[in-house]
């Protein structure tokens, strides 16, 4: 069974470094806002609309989504950061889902 837990490889570690930087490092948007953008929960109003699309239907993002977020008071640099956090957050969840499925398949093989 000890083989079933896969060691974090160099690539996963490099992505984790990116995740940690965009959420917890220095930025114009607050770490709390960036954490909400990353997890795609606890967002409100225009930000929820824009960042929800970034996470789930990025091809549907429009100029109007950005205009609404600006009108709600977010600066260009804040939106730069929050959009990145939303994209990286969704991708990190996909990464973890894929690695969990692999660990499950490998555990099944070794049990059988």
């Amino acid at each position: 069974m000890h083989h079933a837990v896969l060691a974090e490889d160099k690539k996963r570690a490099a992505y984790r470094a990116l995740q940690d930087r965009v959420v917890d490092g220095e930025g114009r948007a607050s770490p709390e806002q960036r954490a909400h953008a990353f997890s795609n929960v606890g967002l409100s109003g225009p930000l929820d609309s824009l960042l929800g699309k970034v996470a789930t239907r990025p091809a549907r993002v429009t100029d109007a989504d950005f205009a609404a977020a600006r009108a709600a008071g977010f600066s260009e640099d804040e939106l730069f950061e929050l959009v990145i956090c939303a994209a990286v957050g969704q991708s990190a969840r996909l990464y973890d889902a894929g690695l969990a499925a692999l660990a499950g398949a490998v555990a099944g093989e070794e049990d059988g």
């Binding site: 789930t56 990025p58 260009e76 640099d77 990190a92 894929g98 398949a105």
Partner: protein
């Protein structure tokens, strides 16, 4: 791009570099390149490192296979910029345009090896549905794909789920076919760093 800082917010050194790129390539600087030069300490530096490792680092998958995965994932996300960029790069890497076209048109009938086909199917499902089960992964392993190859393919998938989202959200301008060919040549020569 939809944020003016991504169009104009660069210092003199970066502007000079963009001018050199335009001069040498005889094409506009792709928005994908501009993005990683804007406040690179926030996103670009680490994103480039991860993407280069995923796309050009050690792997049993060839560069062509990984570029094809990037194109396939981008198709699942309907990301026009990244489909254009990575179909061009996969075609050049394989020296085989019809194979790339066939995979994007119909994965089941495309003339590729079963391990690659099973892996692309899994990446497409993960991207489209956002989840994956152990059974999905068992099918990939039983097609002859190693665990390390699965991990390597997931890294490619994640790199392009990230880039696709940013391309669509920030509104990357789709290049001309010649622009994509020039970009592909650069990516095969220099990678993503």
């Amino acid at each position: 791009m939809r944020l003016e800082v991504l169009n104009r917010g660069y210092g003199p050194g970066t502007k000079l570099l963009f001018a050199v790129i335009r001069l040498v390539s005889r094409h506009p600087v792709p928005d994908a390149a501009k993005l990683v030069f804007y406040r690179p300490d926030f996103y670009g530096a680490r994103a480039k490192e991860f993407t280069h490792e995923a796309m050009r680092g050690p792997s049993a998958w060839s560069v062509g296979d990984r570029e094809l995965m990037a194109a396939y994932v981008s198709q699942a996300n309907e990301c026009a910029f990244c489909i254009g960029a990575h179909t061009a790069t996969a075609r050049q890497a394989y020296q085989d345009g019809p194979k790339v076209t066939a995979v994007l048109a119909d994965l089941d009938s495309a003339p590729i090896e079963e391990p690659l086909r099973a892996t692309l199917r899994m990446l497409g499902k993960l991207t489209a549905e956002g989840k994956l089960g152990a059974e999905d992964m068992r099918q990939v392993l039983s097609a002859g794909v190693s665990r390390q190859q699965v991990q390597d393919a997931l890294a490619v998938c994640v790199a392009f789920n990230t880039t696709d989202r940013l391309a669509d959200a920030f509104g990357f301008e789709v290049l001309s076919p010649e622009g994509f060919e020039a970009g592909a040549k650069y990516l095969l020569k220099r990678g993503y760093r």
